[in-house]
């Protein structure tokens, strides 16, 4: 700390470049930290290393071709990203999605949320410094979920399975039984994480009280997802503007009051349990039926108009702003990335903390760089 005696004993701050290739930046994020000893005085984030112009590319493609690009926008929760996109197209084209497709979408989206949160748990555990253990625990259960996705859609990450109007093809006939198996495995995984981290004194000491962001600040920064709910703001699009069938089943919005890194961890852990509950209820409600509307045009065209669709992706609000001027392709497609907004608050959260804390604050907002940079 620089105090009044700074002039007598002059110290110089060190600029520490973290990333774009650093084990804890979760991809190609770069930040320049100005450190005074071990204390961070300033952070300058640099993003854009993974900018691929997905928005521009989607403007040149018809609605079906764009789905694949949405997968790549949010590769850890590709179903959630697809969902926003296809819902935006459906809204503009005024398509009614059959019930069965909606339930299946909901199951897949929640399973993907589980997979994504598991990934968070693993990567965050490594950031905090457990050698490899949480990562491999996360991978174990995520593998089960991804195997299920592979059996359904054929691909492990880039599903391209949701289509405007419903689903590309139906789920396999053993879908319900397989999903139950996966849920059992995931419950074990959640229990393992709970045992490994939640009560561990060192983990608690490392995560409590750092990276604090107040509810007012979180709203002002436009944070969303678990990052804002950990600050005590019950902002969850699933509850506030229910889409799919979220208003028909029982589930809770998990909030924590402390607004620190530990609260964000607990929030995600709680959400994983909620997701398991949601999937179980969806499985009970799943009925045979159509998965696409009766009359689907061969080439989907939308009337002119614009819509901003928001859904709750694992990292927060994933918004798709779709402007159509008629025709079979978007005129403008804007992806509202939750990570981008959450990442803006990084400087606010980490200044004044130790270097090691800045790393786990970055870990706690769970960025996916492909979503930040698009």
């Amino acid at each position: 700390m620089v105090t009044e005696s700074a002039h007598e004993f002059e110290t110089q701050d060190l600029l520490l470049n973290v990333g774009p290739q650093h084990p804890s930046t979760h991809g190609v994020f770069r930040m320049v930290m100005q450190v005074d000893g071990e204390v961070v005085r300033d952070i300058i984030p640099y993003i854009g290393y993974l900018h691929r112009g997905a928005e521009k590319l989607c403007e040149t493609m018809d609605y079906r071709q764009g789905i694949g690009f949405m997968d790549r926008t949010e590769y850890l929760a590709a179903f959630n990203a697809e969902l926003s996109y296809v819902m935006a197209v459906e809204k503009l084209a005024e398509l009614e999605v059959p019930d069965r497709a909606q339930w299946i979408r909901m199951i897949l989206v929640e399973l993907n949320r589980l997979a994504s949160h598991l990934m968070f748990m693993g990567a965050f555990g490594i950031d905090v410094g457990v050698f490899g253990t949480p990562f491999i625990y996360a991978w174990r259960e995520r593998e089960a979920i991804i195997d299920l996705f592979e059996e359904i859609s054929g691909d492990r990450m880039m599903y391209a399975y949701f289509r405007p109007g419903g689903l590309a093809w139906d789920v396999p006939t053993n879908f319900v039984a397989r999903t139950r198996e996966v849920l059992t495995a995931v419950n074990q995984g959640i229990a393992d994480f709970d045992g490994l981290l939640t009560k561990n004194e060192i983990f608690v000491a490392r995560t409590q009280g750092i990276g604090y962001v107040s509810a007012a600040d979180a709203i002002d920064f436009g944070m969303s997802g678990p990052s804002i709910r950990a600050s005590g703001v019950p902002l969850d699009v699933r509850r506030e503007e229910p889409y799919l069938k979220y208003d028909e089943i029982k589930w809770d919005v998990i909030t924590e009051q402390d607004g620190d890194v530990y609260a964000r961890y607990l929030c995600r852990l709680g959400e994983m349990r909620e997701s398991v509950k949601i999937v179980q209820q969806c499985l009970e409600r799943l009925q045979p039926g159509a998965i696409m509307p009766e009359k689907m045009p061969r080439m989907l065209r939308t009337p002119p108009g614009e819509v901003y669709i928001r859904t709750e992706a694992p990292r927060g609000e994933f918004g798709v702003y779709l402007v159509s001027k008629g025709g079979n392709r978007p005129y403008r497609l804007k992806v509202r990335s939750a990570c981008l907004s959450n990442l803006q608050a990084l400087k606010h959260m980490s200044v004044g903390q130790y270097v090691a804390d800045a790393i786990i604050v970055l870990g706690s907002i769970d960025i996916v760089l492909s979503e930040v940079d698009r």
């Binding site: 450190v35 905090v128 410094g129 490899g132 253990t133 491999i136 625990y137 000491a205 790393i359």
Partner: protein, 373 residues
């Protein structure tokens, strides 16, 4: 040391033993690397190395060959002397610590009357090598890592030495062999459980093992002082780390677990004594790997605070209690009871430190508002 091995000149004899031990140590360290990877693999629900040789047994050999074959790089701006000599200064003191390790009766390199003092003095030299490596690399991560290593080593030297002192009070000697022999009935861990726990924690810190691996913390300073090293110099750090792991577990088993005498007495043959030592050391190594697989890394302030605010006072209390018991000839079980009570206190203090969610620190808030304005 009355008579040298094979009746040779004591110096020659010492040299032979030292060479034997250096050779042994290298093999042991390589074996430990394999074991750690294998055991850690099981903690991670995977299998560990398996593709080199049967069960991956040759993994360390493959690693060593790869490291020897690598180019020995030196950054252009690095200070040549500090950079090149850093690894030696890490490596040599660790091997020197080996001189007093008691594997079995009469078979260590030298039995020194001030064995513990020698060990503590020599092993703490290696920190100079860490700082040299950190400073000489001309890398900011390395420098932060080196500074962290120095701060950590200096802090944890205290509880480390104090808890050793508590044991030597009980045995009345600083000679490690005599400490071992004094435990032929009851190992020291029974009388000094608190000292054992403190020593174990401090040893983890001395070894830079998790949760005290902040100098190398991969997720923050990406290897700390080692970040610019490659090839053979890097492998020296690595070898040194595992050699010291082995030495430290031998020391703990000798000082606290009765070394080669307990529970079968010292009449056992040399082979059995060695086996006993190795088993005890292996259990300790397993424990250390187990801890590594389970705990996150501490932060620098927490790490320092833990040493100075919790471990050092408790170690001093242990010494005080030992003094009382020895001076007034009180019954020994008092020590056990006090020690267990001390462990409970240690546990309670550790939990108390985190019981309530702490608000963000005032300094952090001040900086936040400064940055916002």
């Amino acid at each position: 040391m009355p008579e040298g091995l094979f009746g040779l000149n004591p110096w020659l004899d010492g040299l032979i033993r030292l060479l034997l031990i250096v050779g042994l140590m290298t093999v042991v360290a390589m074996g430990l690397i394999y074991i750690e990877r294998k055991v850690l693999g099981r903690f991670h629900a995977r299998v560990g190395p398996q593709r080199t040789g049967p069960f991956g047994l040759l993994q360390s050999v493959a690693d060593a060959l790869k490291l020897i074959g690598k180019e020995d790089l030196r950054p252009r701006n690095a200070d040549p002397w500090t950079f090149e000599f850093g690894p030696y200064l890490v490596f040599i003191p660790i091997f020197m610590g080996f001189v007093v390790q008691p594997f079995m009766a009469d078979f260590n390199v030298r039995v020194l009357d001030l064995g513990i003092l020698y060990f503590v003095a020599v092993s703490s030299v290696s920190i100079v090598g860490w700082v040299m490596a950190g400073w000489g690399s001309d890398n900011r991560y390395a420098m932060i890592g080196g500074m962290r290593a120095a701060a950590q080593a200096i802090s944890y030297e205290l509880p480390f030495v104090l808890s050793l002192l508590a044991v030597s009070m009980l045995s009345g000697t600083l000679n490690i062999n005599e400490i071992v022999l004094a435990q032929w009935q009851v190992p020291n861990i029974v009388w000094q459980p608190l000292a054992f726990v403190i020593f174990f924690i401090a040893a983890l810190a001395e070894l830079n093992r998790p949760p005290f691996d902040i100098p190398v913390g991969e997720s923050e300073v990406v290897g700390g002082p080692f970040v610019e090293y490659s090839g053979i110099r890097w492998s020296m750090f690595f070898l040194g780390e595992y050699a010291s792991l082995f030495i430290m577990s031998i020391l703990i088993s000798a000082v606290f677990l009765g070394g080669y005498v307990w529970p079968f007495g010292q009449e056992l043959g040399i082979g059995f004594q060695l086996l006993l030592t190795v088993i005890k050391a292996s259990l300790l190594i397993f424990l250390i790997i187990w801890v590594r697989a389970s705990v996150p890394r501490l932060r620098i302030d927490q790490l320092m605070g833990y040493a100075w605010k919790i471990l050092v006072p408790l170690a001093l209390v242990q010494i005080l209690v030992n003094g009382f018991v020895l001076v007034y000839d009180l019954p020994m079980p008092i020590l056990t009871v006090v020690g267990l009570g001390g462990i409970a206190l240690l546990s309670w203090l550790t939990e108390r430190a985190i019981r309530k969610p702490r608000a963000a620190r005032a300094s952090a808030i001040a900086l936040q508002s400064e940055a916002a304005s």
